[in-house]
């Protein structure tokens, strides 16, 4: 079985990143402008990377499928961003953030990357404050913090429930500054449909211009993908409607290995599903668990409205089972416990698939104004969607697909297995193992973009002798042709079933068989069904309109086609990993008290898959994980 080398620098954990930076090759300032760098995606990771590389002097071309860089899904992040500042003097440190992240990820992430992330975290806050990000502050004018799940310190910086918005607008402003300076060329409403690899090296991309339908080619010395996560494979998720796996998947088909696709995060606190027509699920930020208490009725089938169930008849099951972390256990644990309570018949709401997130005690203790100042927009959003007022009645919540820990495999430099192709943010697999802690995705996206790639990309550029390549190269022409062919094929089927119908069918199947709990039988069944759905898609999908115009159905069809291939890999990965870890819960592998039971002897590795053709079995590559700094132990939050 092929073994992957992550190129982790020598030396003790604490010195690896500074050793790396000292030893890495540099590009002379006057030479930088001779290099064109493509950045796909303008979320936190992409905008931060594009702005910073442009400041260094590279010629950056930034692409987004949105009408503006500011629309990237990062904008929707609510609760906050972690940093080991220890402003609360409550025992935080780089070491502790590192440790919490490794443990939270259930010992399935790479120590060296996680430590670097923790080291960089503090600089991110400095940078964002300097850009004018209006973080929450104390009356004294100092920055304020709150707690997130899986930790016992307060290290989360936030801007009401709109932290992602404020951070993205900061990164966007940095990006637009470089557009004005002439160092970034912005390409909006462009969807990346292929990666161009020449002599084994990533040298450009193919995009579809969403307005004109034209297929366009762009060449560069390196390609950076920052295209976000794939959780929309489940159809219903907390992600924005456009989130997709297309860019990553098409790069995968050109040789980039896909790591741990089965590690998906199901977020415990979301507004429950309520109807057939539903298009997405809405997150209620984890930060709410700072002041909200999770409970169900003590007895089954108690269908009284929650506020009529007396205190003595409520079971605060997280506080009961996990006294030291209480409501703030990590997401995977919280979600599984919510599911367990509902499966036992203790769920509430019209479907019985919901539990209470109750603020009454906090409102009594702190006053409604304090609660309003912390969560105003979240409470408003809840009321708009459900028509119920969370200041008066408990919220009803249920877990929903939320985040992708898996992604394209990258080494310590964030380079994929295709030289010259780098992957940043949620699109890579790197730092969160099998479960991400809250407020750590924003941190990772910005760490990758502002601080990691600006140090690792020059090392690649300076160390390679790249030949001149233009878009006249046959590889570009071939990729353009393939892209057009695929589009024509989709438009030519003229079947009877809509794109969304296929997406929904795939999503429900995955939610059922490869969601919060998985087992051999269900996964095997899904593996049989997915190719059938895929085949039907290519025979019976209907895509209206033509290619040379704005065609949103066509855009979605391309994305769903990729989900139908990717979903199969996700299930294959879940089936092969006969252990439970983090968000990957195999029912066959539990401890006697129902917690995830890892199998470190057999599965202490990153599973990275190589593509061999749509209907061919993929090749598994392994990156063994070694834990030198934190002993491998069973996680406990009790």
């Amino acid at each position: 079985m092929p073994v992957l080398d992550a190129k982790i620098p020598e030396g003790p954990l604490e010195e690896k990143w500074s050793n790396y930076k000292f030893k890495s090759k540099l590009v002379n300032p006057t030479n930088r402008r001779k290099h064109t760098i493509i950045v796909v995606g303008t979320g936190l990771a992409g905008s931060a990377a594009a702005a910073t590389l442009a400041e260094q002097g590279y010629q950056v071309k930034a692409f987004t499928m949105h009408d503006s860089p500011r629309r990237a899904h990062s904008i929707a992040a609510q609760g906050g961003i972690n940093a080991a500042k220890n402003y609360c003097n409550d025992g935080d440190s780089v070491r502790r953030l590192f440790y919490d992240t490794i443990k939270g990820g259930d010992f399935r992430s790479r120590e060296a990357n996680v430590h670097r992330l923790a080291e960089i975290s503090a600089n991110i806050i400095d940078q964002c404050v300097a850009q004018g990000v209006p973080f929450a502050r104390e009356y004294s004018g100092y920055l304020e913090n709150r707690s997130f799940g899986g930790t016992q310190v307060s290290r989360t910086f936030y801007a009401k429930g709109q932290t992602g918005q404020q951070l993205l607008l900061g990164a966007y402003s940095a990006l637009m500054k470089e557009v004005d300076n002439g160092n970034v060329t912005l390409y909006t409403r462009r969807e990346m449909v292929d990666l161009v690899v020449i002599d084994g090296i990533a040298r450009g991309i193919i995009v579809r211009n969403e307005i004109t339908g034209k297929i366009e080619s762009y060449a560069a010395d390196a390609v950076l993908l920052a295209t976000g996560g794939y959780t929309n494979v489940f159809f219903l998720s907390t992600n924005a409607m456009g989130c997709n796996v297309t860019a990553a998947w098409r790069a995968h088909k050109k040789g980039a290995l896909f790591a741990n696709p089965c590690y998906t995060q199901i977020h415990p606190t979301c507004i429950p599903v309520h109807g057939e027509y539903q298009s997405k699920l809405t997150l209620m930020s984890e930060s709410l668990r700072n002041d909200g208490r999770v409970w169900v009725p003590k007895v089954k089938e108690d269908r009284r409205p929650p506020h009529l169930i007396p205190e003595a008849e409520r079971d605060y099951f997280l506080e009961r089972k996990y006294p030291s972390f209480g409501n703030l256990v990590p997401r995977d644990l919280a979600s599984r416990n919510v599911k367990e309570q509902c499966d036992q018949g203790k769920g509430l709401g019209s479907t019985g698939f919901a539990v209470c997130l109750d603020f009454s005690e906090s409102i009594k203790r702190l006053g409604a104004d304090v609660i309003r100042s912390r969560y105003e927009n979240l409470f408003e959003m809840y009321e708009k969607i459900t028509g119920s007022d969370p200041y008066k009645e408990p919220m009803l919540i249920y877990p929903a697909p939320h985040y992708a820990m898996g992604g394209l495999w990258v080494d310590y430099d964030l380079m994929s297995t295709v030289p010259g192709l780098f992957v940043l943010g949620e699109a890579n697999f790197s730092d969160h193992g099998a479960n991400r802690l809250g407020a750590s995705a924003l941190m990772q996206g910005l760490a990758d973009g502002y601080f990691v790639i600006p140090s690792t990309l020059p090392n690649y550029i300076a160390g390679s002798s790249l030949s001149q390549v233009t878009t006249d190269h046959p590889a570009f022409k071939q990729a353009e042709e393939d892209a057009s062919k695929k589009i024509k094929q989709l438009l030519g089927i003229k079947g009877k079933k809509t794109v969304d119908a296929f997406h929904r069918e795939l999503g429900l199947l995955l939610w059922d068989k490869c969601g919060m709990a998985r087992n051999e039988e269900g996964l095997t069944e899904a593996l049989k069904k997915i190719p059938e759905i895929r085949q039907e898609f290519w025979e019976n999908v209907t895509v209206s309109g033509s290619e040379g115009e704005l065609n949103q159905t066509l855009e979605r069809a391309g994305r769903v086609a990729d989900f139908l291939e990717f979903g199969e890999l996700m299930v294959q990965d879940a089936l092969h990993r006969r252990e439970s870890c983090g968000g990957h819960f195999r029912e066959e592998c539990q401890t006697p008290d129902g917690e995830a039971a890892r199998n470190d002897d057999q599965f202490c590795y990153v599973g990275a898959w190589g593509f061999n053709g749509v209907d061919a079995a993929p090749t598994l590559h392994k990156e063994p994980l070694t834990f030198e700094s934190v002993p491998l132990t069973q996680r406990s939050y009790r």
């Binding site: 503006s68 929450a136 920055l143 409607m241 027509y277």
Partner: protein, 250 residues
């Protein structure tokens, strides 16, 4: 759960250069808990199944934060509910047998691309002209070395909440973008970090705004009424004061 039957009059336009017109669609059995965009999804599924072109509309987060969605509904940008984006408007706010007129945000500076989809790239160009603090990555001081009074930070936040949806432009009889531009200017002007470039910023952004062909403000307050994030016209006053000051000092 009650269901609604509705008549929709929707603006259809093939592309920027084609003339557009209203088409009528019947929406039957719409769940009152569905969002406005989910109602359009239902119509689009039906149109697609009949082999017709679905209604093109922009959207993404469906949580009222990305600023991608928006249309004029019964004459009001983002529809009848205050401080609510179109994606957060739910059908329970309509009555059975209502007729709903749906058209794109319209203004010369944000032209229609197709149906309800518009081109807001002018907003990006105005921000590029100066809507930032010119700090290079890596040069920031320790975050707590500069204190920001809580009330200033909150004021900055209130302006910074703008989602760039362009409802203000669509609602303004003069097609002015002043609410959008002044929100960014105020956000940075009330924070200590924003001071060094404060006057230069307002001049550059106002000039960029004029160049894009947005109109002037004549105190109609329609923008404030339409803004899904409750951005206040007071931001425009601050922008005007700063612009005046900048012209005095240069």
């Amino acid at each position: 759960m009650s269901k609604l039957d509705l008549t929709l009059k929707v603006w259809r336009q093939k592309d920027a250069n084609s003339p557009g017109k209203f088409e009528i669609y019947l929406a039957r059995g719409i769940d009152e808990d569905a969002s406005f965009l989910e109602m359009l999804d239902v119509i689009n599924e039906e149109l697609t199944q009949k082999g017709q072109d679905p209604i093109a509309f922009d959207h993404d987060c469906r949580e009222g934060i990305c600023g991608t969605c928006g249309a004029v509904v019964n004459g009001r940008a983002h529809g009848p509910l205050k401080t609510t984006t179109l994606c957060q408007l739910h059908m329970r706010h309509f009555k059975n047998n209502d007729t709903i007129v749906i058209e794109p945000f319209r203004s010369r500076a944000i032209p229609v691309v197709r149906d309800l989809v518009i081109d807001r790239s002018a907003f990006d160009r105005v921000i590029a002209a100066g809507g930032y603090i010119s700090v290079r990555t890596g040069s920031a001081p320790e975050a707590n070395s500069m204190l920001v009074p809580k009330q200033d930070s909150e004021k900055g936040f209130d302006s910074a909440q703008c989602i760039g949806c362009a409802a203000c432009v669509a609602a303004c009889p003069n097609a002015s973008a002043m609410l959008f531009v002044s929100a960014k200017i105020s956000h940075l002007a009330v924070l200590p970090q924003g001071q060094p470039e404060r006057l230069k910023r307002v001049v550059k952004m106002v000039h960029a705004m004029d160049k894009e062909g947005f109109g002037n403000c004549s105190n109609e307050y329609e923008c404030e009424a339409a803004c899904p994030k409750g951005i206040k016209v007071a931001n425009i006053n601050l922008m005007n004061r700063d612009f005046f000051k900048a012209n005095l000092t240069t």
